[in-house]
């Protein structure tokens, strides 16, 4: 079980989506796929059709920069960050 921390820009888009979600997944990509099952459309907001993480969406697993292939261990913390930009 990994604990996923989501950006505040995401939660208003999906009714009932909390900032912190526990998921059973062994990679970042699998965690996002699990979230997609529970909140359809969520994967499109984090990934382009590749799928690849969108340019300004950064993911960290236990504080290290991650990709969709990065492994999640039991108890991992996965932070999804909307990169600081704009004005």
């Amino acid at each position: 079980m990994a604990n996923v921390h989501l950006p505040g820009t995401l939660t208003p888009l999906f009714p009932g989506l909390p900032r912190h979600v526990d998921v059973e997944a062994d990679t970042v990509g699998a965690a996002i796929a699990e979230l997609e099952l529970r909140w359809p459309g969520l994967q499109d907001r984090l990934c382009d059709p590749g799928p690849n993480l969108r340019t300004h969406i950064h993911v960290y697993v236990d504080r290290d920069r991650a990709t969709l292939d990065t492994a999640l261990a039991p108890g991992s913390r996965m932070d999804v960050i909307a990169a600081i930009s704009g004005g």
Binding site: P7, T9, L10, P12, L13, G41, D44, R45, L46, D48, P49, G50, R54, H56, I57, A82, A83, S85, G86
Partner: protein, 357 residues
Amino acid sequence: MPNTVVIVGTRKGAFLLESDADRRDWKLRGPYCEGWPVYHAVHDPVTGNIYAAAASEWHGSAIWRSKDLGEAWTLSSEGIGYDESSGRKVSKVSSLAARNGRVLVGVEAPGIFESTDEGETFSLLSTLAGQPGSEAWDDPANQPPGHLGISALMLDKDDDSRFWAIVQGVGVFETADDGATWTPRNRGLRSDWPRPHEEVGFCVHRLVRADDTRMYQQNHVGMHRSDDLGHTWTEITEGLPTEFGFAAAAHPHDRDTFYVVPLDPGHGRTMPEGKATVWQTRDAGSSWRPLRKGLPQEDAYLGVLRSGMAIDGYDTPGLYFGTSTGQVFASNDEGESWSEIASYLPPISSVEVAIVE
């Protein structure tokens, strides 16, 4: 009594301005769409839905929908995206057209997606592949900053399989078979630059329909009129202060009356001499007159983008335009007089108007 709803797309979400049929007192609601940059927002007169094409820097492009005039919104991008193997990417959703539950979405890189379920899901309708110019318009090196791809879509009045698409910097294309085949409709347009193809290479900013046969357009270089539904074009710029501008509107009941907002053509692209002015022709472009009553006439360096002006369908039509500095001006007397109905919105991308019973 019907309500008048002006739908404003801005860089920080969508807003609605509401009034009654008199169109004197206005109430603002919003922002909607979570502050996403909205490129175009429209109303489907049959379903009553409002759709907003928005592209978040973080979360990508999606079509927002409200079924209750803005009270509640959902979003979907299901099906909006090119196959990875094509090498094309959707950088933004730029333009919308909606009727009878069907939604057409123009995107960059140029292509058109379709929804037949009121914006729940989408599928690729056409990329205009094979049209002259198409080999170049997918190359990012050929696109200026902020390129919109399909910058506008215009539906036919009656025939759902006929519509027109503007490819920014390339020209107008018409389909009469629901996007299966296309024909460039740019004959007679002016261009002041070399063009690799005879039929395309024109910078069409705004295309509007006057009646069964007449169209007008604001081009990068000049206003133009067509009396054969876009098959041929005649320039009608003479009498205007500049040939450049983005926005345009055709009178819904008088085919000879047309409105434009000329801008300085350089980098500034604001109203000449700082005097906010809409120009009107009542004789199909033979002569032009300025409409200024109620508009700021001193130090008003306002810009209006290509989807930034709309006209309603009342017997005495009302005109509306939104500026790139966040003001909305409205006229309830065909442009003879104006009032500022919103002053401090984010930069405005689009203005549309609906009459709601």
